[in-house]
Symmetry: C2
Subunit: 103 residues, 2 copies
Amino acid sequence: MTYANVSTFDAVPGKRDELVVHLTSSKPGLTAAGCLSYEVGVSEDQPDTVFVSELWTSAEAHRGSLELPEVREAIAAARPLISGRSGGFAFDVVGSPLRAGDR
Amino acid sequence: MTYANVSTFDAVPGKRDELVVHLTSSKPGLTAAGCLSYEVGVSEDQPDTVFVSELWTSAEAHRGSLELPEVREAIAAARPLISGRSGGFAFDVVGSPLRAGDR
């Protein structure tokens, strides 16, 4: 079942864009690991926050991806740039109005 | 700029699945309006919550879609099924590790 993972990371003030660089760096293994979509973004409303919205073939695929060397490296590089506050949620996709027949 | 909109809707107890039906009902006009992705889901951790993760060609496209008859009808039908608590956030996409060259 498609799995969605949505996260917010509060960057250390002034480090947001550096955090974006790590989160958007090329990670060729993600697609093979089951990543369907991985969108990183920012908002004028929350200038120190980085947002991530991901879709995976399954929750297990997402969990497994955290072991990929390129992902572990990015997490290690990003960790000091995150001020500690993070949020988000995850859910199992049950349908879409764009493919209404798949429920 | 691609725009992401992520929402949570707390359903009136017992009405979650009915709310999912309205949110996943076919809305053919969405793609033409600029909808790139619209994923609806649930989580065992929050049994009364419906999650939505959307991607649009722009924030204006998303805003404009709220005027589509099929969207207005779905919102009107869904409103009584929502207990009032909702959350989420929106952001402008700046990149993805799946297409690292587009920043």
